[in-house]
């Protein structure tokens, strides 16, 4: 479904990515791991169009997307959450998701129809599916950190993606919230047939849900393989246990 081929990205002289490769098959859950500064977030920003690669191709559903702007990439079927809680703080929880649904349905530019009556069913359905059904009228900025992260996933779901990208979905969460998020991700993958690409520091989570793991270091792909193989791999052990820059 998604294929990242030898992608590089430079910031001035610094190579944030140099030859990263990634394959995300349809319907799978793929994790990207690597020490801080390995280039995971940069990779995600390239896939969703926030950044443009200096070299390489990104192919989604058989089509090169590396030159497209973020909003077009979203309409092709890729949605994402961000590393830091990234919601619309002055809108209500309901509106946060509704804006996303409106955008997906191509109704963002409608000028004279009250938004409050539009796509209520679709929005409510998403909020309930992530467990925020009762918080709809609160301002998003007043939610707890964990709920804001969940809301982020709900916003991403609003664009009915085929591929959902999650940047450290459990960062900063309590153990209970982490467990709940883990269940949520599994459930979403099952019930909506979503393909999921995520990165995560917590190795327990990675090995619990990922079907394929891509390991990065210094902006390079070391390998991509099923979890068991990754666990056995010497190079990965060195990268993590050798403490080069972890």
């Amino acid at each position: 479904m998604l294929e990242v081929k030898a992608v590089s990205k430079f910031f001035d002289d610094f190579a944030a990515l140099s030859g990263a490769n990634l394959t995300v098959p349809d319907g799978s859950i793929v994790a990207v791991i690597g020490p801080n500064g390995a280039g995971k977030t940069t990779l995600f920003n390239l896939i969703t169009g926030q950044l443009k690669p200096d070299r390489g191709q990104i192919v989604f559903s058989g089509e090169e997307i590396q030159h497209l702007p973020p909003h077009t990439i979203c309409h092709r079927g890729i949605a994402r959450s961000f590393q830091i809680a990234n919601v619309f703080p002055r809108l209500t929880v309901f509106e946060n998701v509704q804006v996303s649904v409106l955008s997906h349905q191509g109704q963002s530019n409608r000028l004279f129809r009250p938004a409050s009556s539009l796509l209520v069913r679709e929005t409510t359905e998403i909020l309930e599916s992530v467990g925020l059904g009762r918080q709809g009228r609160r301002l998003a900025g007043t939610l707890s950190h964990g709920d804001q992260r969940t809301l982020e996933i709900a916003i991403a779901l609003g664009s009915q993606p085929r591929l959902l990208i999650l940047d450290e979905p459990t960062a900063g969460m309590s153990p209970e919230e982490t467990a709940a998020t883990l269940e949520l991700i599994k459930r979403l993958a099952r019930s909506r047939g979503l393909t999921i690409l995520f990165c995560e520091h917590d190795m327990d989570i990675v090995f619990a849900i990922a079907q394929s793991i891509m390991v990065m270091q210094h902006g390079r792909t070391i390998l991509q393989a099923p979890p068991d193989e990754v666990r056995q791999n010497r190079q990965v052990q060195e990268a993590y246990l050798g403490g080069v820059d972890a």
């Binding site: 969703t48 169009g49 926030q50 702007p69 973020p70 909003h71 077009t72 979203c74 309409h75 949605a79 994402r80 961000f82 990234n86 919601v87 619309f88 703080p89 002055r90 809108l91 509106e95 946060n96 509704q98 804006v99 996303s100 409106l102 955008s103 997906h104 109704q107 963002s108 530019n109 409608r110 000028l111 004279f112 129809r113 009250p114 938004a115 409050s116 539009l118 916003i155 991403a156 609003g158 664009s159």
Partner: protein, 314 residues
């Protein structure tokens, strides 16, 4: 509220014409401030030179009425559209940048319009502006123009309210809160901001037309950056996260300016002091503050209801 509406409707009948005039001025400035707030409060854009579109609307109708045979009603429609076209061009250039650069770019483009207007004596009258602009016969007395302004303001407010509450408005507020996130949910942020600027400059143009109706003259200072910042202050004073706030802010500023100026020539100092007090003590604005209090009370009431319900269950 109902009483206030009655007063506004009947004002020209019982009040001296000076008060009618001041209140008409409040409405013109209020419309200008509300149009700015579409992009400032709802859109989060640093629209530093909104006054340009107001001035362009005013100059457009003044020039059409004094220099062309175009009928008056067409002029009234054309002028805001011309302002909106300028909004399209200036906005299109500015949205390539964000925040402070957006604002500075707008000031430079606006300054170009201002300096050309103030120098082009043959066409715009230069520093002298244009005076004695002829008005259609049904808009000659103070009373008539008052009701005309009131009607146009009411229609404009209704339209702007619908825009704010529409999917477009909701998306615009989402862009204000978080443009990057908005791109990632498939919103073409710049396109959206540009439409907002065009709508806002259209209504600024309407305000400019109303000003000409009231004063029958235009002058280059309407395009100068100081006026734009004063409109900014009106929005802040009323509260830029509220819909009606800028109207209230404009009312306070215009009324204070009118009556304080009778007693002292140092109105700008008083305006500056008000602004600094606002920044330090009331950054959410008058209406924002009032709504906040009402909201807290409502919340407190809701909580007590919940508590008593629980109490009943126990």
């Amino acid at each position: 509220m109902a009483l206030f509406i009655v007063v506004v409707l009947l004002l020209p009948i019982f009040a001296p014409s000076f008060y009618t005039y001041v209140f008409a001025l409040v409405m013109v400035n209020g419309l200008l401030a509300m149009s700015l707030n579409l992009v400032l409060g709802y859109g989060g854009l640093y629209q530093f030179h909104h006054g340009v579109f107001y001035g362009i609307g005013a100059y457009a109708i003044a020039l059409i009425l004094t220099k062309s045979p175009v009928p008056w009603w067409l002029a009234f429609i054309a002028a805001p559209i011309i302002a909106a076209l300028f909004g399209l061009v200036i906005g299109w250039i500015c949205i390539r940048s964000t925040q402070l650069y957006f604002g500075m770019l707008q000031i430079s483009l606006g300054s170009l319009v201002w300096i050309i207007t103030s120098r082009w004596y043959d066409f715009t009258g230069g520093d002298n502006g244009i005076n004695n602009i002829p008005m259609p016969s049904f808009l000659t007395s103070g009373k008539e123009i008052y009701y005309f302004i009131l009607a146009v303001l009411a229609i404009s407010i209704a339209v702007m309210y619908r825009v704010v509450k529409s999917p477009f408005g909701a998306t615009l507020q989402a862009i204000r809160d978080n443009p990057q996130r908005c791109e990632a949910i498939g919103v073409n942020v710049r396109h959206h901001q540009l439409i907002a600027i065009v709508i806002a400059s259209f209504f600024a143009g309407v305000a400019g037309v109303l000003y000409v109706g009231l004063e029958r003259s235009v002058f280059p200072d309407m395009l100068f950056w100081v006026l734009s910042l004063e409109v900014f202050v009106m929005c802040l004073l009323g509260g830029w996260f509220t819909f009606a706030g800028p109207l209230v802010g404009a009312g306070i500023i215009v009324i204070l300016r009118t009556f304080v100026s009778i007693y002292t020539e140092y109105w700008t100092m008083i305006e500056g002091i008000i602004l600094i007090l606002l920044i330090f003590f009331l950054p959410q604005g008058v209406v924002g503050f009032a709504l906040g209090r009402v909201g807290r009370k409502a919340q407190a009431a809701e909580e007590t209801v919940q508590v008593s319900e629980r109490g009943a269950k126990v």
